[in-house]
Amino acid sequence: MASHRDLPAGMVNHLFTNTGNSSFTEFVGSYAPELLPGRNDTLATPVGDRIPHATTIVAATCAGGVVMAGDRRATSGNIISQRDIEKVFRTDDYSCMGIAGAASTGIEMARLYRVELEHYEKMEGRTLSVAGKANRLATMIRGNLAMAMQGLVVVPLFAAYDPEVDGGRIFGYDVGGGPYEQYQHHAIGSGSIFARGALKKLYREGASPEDTVLTLIQALYDAADDDSATGGPDVTRRIWPVVAVITADGFRRLSDEEVAQYVRTTVDGRMNNPDGPVAPLR
């Protein structure tokens, strides 16, 4: 009956206990730790290929912002477990993250991360700096290290518009955390080596967001071309990559109709030239 008596000012619920900072994750850790994605108990056997894995995410900076795109495939070993999974998430008005690796843990992490950023913003009345957001994500990845060793690897890619520099910034991670700031462009996931090759040749400094979207769609096409776990545009089912553009106007996910236009341009071009656009030699 009198359990609330040790709470400040007679508050009847631990929701009103000040945890000392504005982090949602730390609050959940003290209030309902079982809700956090990182579990402390280890798995009897590594799960590896038996659970769905998300594959390729690409991102590149553009004039006044940054663009991120992800394919729609999830695989469990050699099985395609989902054709239309979404792996690029809005995390707040000026940032987004894409996930590669164990899809379940990644989605949970993205959900927690979104609340984390919003929670800070509402509690403090200001948004976190971009570096602050990137560091916060690193802590969450590091917390998952034990599970990563059991096969539940999650590696995110984080992109945000930074009002300080009026441009986009990209941060990469590894299973131990990070962040590693990446300039111009970056790719993660199983198809990333092929996508990076394409990005290197097609990336143009200061290109418009529209051109950068096309660059990323081309890079994803190249990744799907050579990596079995990356899904290409599914023309028959009309499943297109998820594309997010973040500029000073905020986060915007392109509609399916808009992405279809870029995909059509890419696919039409490849009808004549299957390897895609040719970069100038000199």
Partner: protein, 263 residues
């Protein structure tokens, strides 16, 4: 607890009087529906200490009274909303649940603590249609009032509420609703606070993701000018019919509690 005998009626009455006095020292805050959602207006000279705040995607919060007390309620409300939205789904967080949590706490403190909280809060939720909007007003003793259309609280709440209800009608545009709110907050014949001393926010049902938006700077000034221009013509006609009763101040008397500066 106080020494000696005091009847429960006396204790409750004293606590209620104490709380009412504290609340009445601050300025009023009004909350009202407009065509796209819910509008919050508070005269507030401080830019740092907010009386109006976002709780969740569709839920806003407004408070009057002692700053540190309603700030504790606000932070607890954000924790409640975020933990529920994270446990279940973002659509499962409702103003009703939050109002219940606040009511429980306020009621408990009112009956068990020596000092009740000197606060009054509004929890408002914007729905997909005006019919689905909800405005709950909670008083220091934990009572919940399900308000329709408008809510006013703080110093001279009754006078403000009466003026607000007189002018309010369903489906007003944003500029008109803002004009109505300012008219209600200002004593007849009194001077309005400048744009820089107003805290204005909306829950706009047409916004994606998070509906809460603060209105400030040029955008607020534009809205104020728009509202004033629209009401200028009818106001000129009624100006002579309703002479200003200039014997009372424009807003509630200033109180140190209102600023939250701790002085």
């Amino acid at each position: 607890m106080p020494f000696g005998y005091a009847s429960p009626e006396q204790i409750m009455r004293d606590k209620a009087d104490y709380a009412r006095k504290g609340i009445a020292r601050g300025r009023s805050v009004v909350v009202l529906q407009y065509e796209d959602g819910i509008l919050f207006v508070a005269p507030n000279p401080s830019r740092a200490l907010h009386k109006i705040s976002e709780i969740y995607d569709r839920i806003g919060f407004a408070a009057v009274g002692r700053y540190n007390e309603f700030e504790a309620l606000r932070l607890g409300g954000i924790r409640y909303a975020d933990i529920n939205g994270y446990t279940y789904d973002r659509t499962d967080v409702t103003a009703r649940g939050l109002a219940n949590l606040y009511a429980q706490n306020l009621g408990q403190i009112f009956t068990e603590s020596i000092k009740s909280m000197e606060v009054e809060v509004v929890v408002a939720e914007v729905g997909d249609t005006p019919e689905a909007d909800a405005i709950y007003r909670l008083t220091f003793d934990g009572s919940v009032f399900d308000e329709h259309g408008t809510a006013a609280m703080g110093g001279q709440a009754e006078a403000v509420a009466t003026r607000l209800k007189e002018r309010y009608r369903d489906g007003m545009g944003l500029a008109e609703a803002l004009e109505t709110a300012l008219t209600a907050l200002t004593e007849p014949g009194g001077e309005r606070p400048p744009a820089g001393q107003l805290e204005v926010a909306v829950l706009d049902r047409n916004r994606p993701h998070r509906k809460f938006l603060r209105l400030a700077g040029p955008r607020l000034e534009r809205l104020l000018a728009e509202g004033a221009a629209a009401s200028a013509a009818p106001a000129a006609e009624t100006a002579e019919a309703a002479p200003g009763t200039g014997d009372s101040p424009a807003t509630a008397p200033e109180g140190d509690i209102d600023t939250g500066s701790g002085a």
